[in-house]
């Protein structure tokens, strides 16, 4: 095989692409990873680092559960890089009846999947989580959720995959996929290079939409700006992930910094901007919201705010798997801002698909074909 030919071509060096490369390389497959920007440029490095199962759509829960049970706990040893995974629980704060109802629904969803989640209120809430304000009246607590460091995790998979022989090329933007006798076989880059593989995995975030379009597939995803604030290192306050029904989410990292994001609702209007820029609104809003729920954080000094794109699917869960119409094409797109925690499980599964194995994790509900209107799955819309 020439150096532009491999068993598997992976487009996108985010957490899914890098972990897929790692698991493929581990199986002895020859892998080439092509990335438009640098390693971990997109959403994989730009998220709050929540490693949670709770609060997810039932369709994607199997991936998140597999990741938190079988992958995250052993990653440090496996990769030789500390992804700072800590399974110390997830507290989601609420302050009205509507929030409480929402939490109870999450508890019910979790129970169906065998995940323990509790409602905390009153004295118990204050005793266990003294940092929350009196404004917070109820909270959901999931002890098996946790946090990790998206930066080191994403780069850790890259580092290990590279050590195992996966070839990574950055600054190589894939523009289209070319078919060979009806099967996905070759990718063509903006630099004019072509790469050939037995399987093509597209795990390129929103950028994957255009690539997949080149073989006549349309994935209903759009992009949304997320913005996150990072504070100075502070004395230890909590080990668990903290979020709010009001929309914020985040953690205190092992270095002591607080990292928090928030959904404000106007993120979509920034979609026309070509490079993600920090807006003048969102970080202020994040700070304000968190200040209400965790007053002690008002004194933490922000040293950085950042922004990035997430690829949102219309039904809020990713599209992962083989595409029946185009054999040998495997896609992973539309992670909708919560693809980090299941990311390694996605990579694990993508590698199994690339190796023609039956996946350990049930991803049938994430198939591209669910958007086939003939199938009508109203419960998901």
């Amino acid at each position: 095989m020439s150096n532009t030919t491999a068993d598997v071509i992976i487009v996108g060096a985010g957490i899914a692409g890098n972990s897929a490369a790692y698991y493929c390389a581990k199986k002895g497959l020859k892998v080439i990873v092509l990335e438009e920007e640098m390693i971990g440029h997109g959403g994989s490095s730009r998220n709050g680092g929540g490693a949670r199962v709770s609060g997810r759509d039932a369709r994607e829960m199997p991936l998140a559960i597999y990741a938190t049970r079988h992958i995250w706990p052993n990653l440090k040893e496996e990769l030789g890089v500390d992804p700072e995974y800590r399974q110390n629980g997830y507290l989601v704060c609420g302050y009205n009846e509507e929030h409480k109802k929402g939490i109870q629904n999450r508890i019910a969803d979790a129970a169906k999947m065998g995940i323990d989640m509790y409602l905390l209120e009153g004295k118990e809430l204050k005793d266990k989580h003294p940092y929350v304000s009196d404004h917070v009246t109820c909270a959901g607590w999931t002890p098996t959720d946790g946090v990790a460091n998206p930066l080191t995790a994403t780069l850790g998979f890259y580092k290990r995959a590279r050590e195992l022989g996966a070839r990574f090329i950055t600054g190589e933007k894939v523009e289209k996929i070319k078919l060979y006798k009806g099967r996905a076989r070759t990718v063509v880059t903006q630099n004019g290079n072509t790469y050939e593989g037995g399987k093509i995995i597209v795990a390129a975030g929103f950028g994957g939409k255009e690539i997949i379009k080149s073989v006549g597939l349309f994935v209903p995803v759009f992009k949304r700006l997320i913005e996150v604030i990072v504070t100075e290192p502070m004395p230890h306050m909590f080990d668990n992930m903290v979020g709010g029904m009001s929309g914020f989410y985040g953690q205190q990292t092992v270095h002591g910094s607080f990292v928090f994001g928030n959904a404000l609702g106007r993120e979509q209007c920034f979609a026309e901007i070509t490079t993600p820029v920090s807006s003048s609104y969102n970080p202020a809003n994040i700070c304000h919201t968190i200040g209400v729920d965790i007053p002690a954080l008002k004194e933490a000094k922000i040293i950085r705010t950042w922004s990035g794109w997430t690829d949102m699917s219309v039904d809020g869960v990713p599209i992962i798997g083989n595409v029946a119409e185009v054999p040998d094409l495997i896609i992973d797109i539309g992670c909708t801002g919560h693809g980090f925690c299941p990311g390694p499980a996605s990579g694990y599964t993508l590698a199994q698909l690339a190796n023609n194995e039956t996946p350990d994790v049930d991803i049938s509900k994430l198939a591209y074909e669910r958007y086939d209107m003939a199938k009508k799955q109203p419960q998901y819309y």
């Binding site: 390693i39 780069l155 920090s278 004194e299 950085r304 705010t305 950042w306």
Partner: protein, 109 residues
Amino acid sequence: MSRYLDRSADIGEFIPQPDDDLIICRCEEITKGEIRKAVHLGMWTMTEVKRLIRPGMGLCQGQTCSKHVKGVIAKELHISPAELDDLTARPPMRPVEMGVFGNEVESHE
């Protein structure tokens, strides 16, 4: 799009140097040797090195060390520092308390 980089290209072995203990990033206390090692682990951009081992991620956000980090990485990759992209500049320019940042008020005429 970023510059084309084949991460399998040969940059040679990591060879220890006498000044590997020299602190380069004062805030996060990252040494020259740590940065050089990160390059050999595949971190070939300022941002990747920063994300893996934290130079430039501290309180001053790389205002003091960026130039040196860049120099160390470039030397290890046998390229000119000008070929490396700077870290992305992000607000705020100075550390600002969350309470202050969240206290957004409209400016008026």
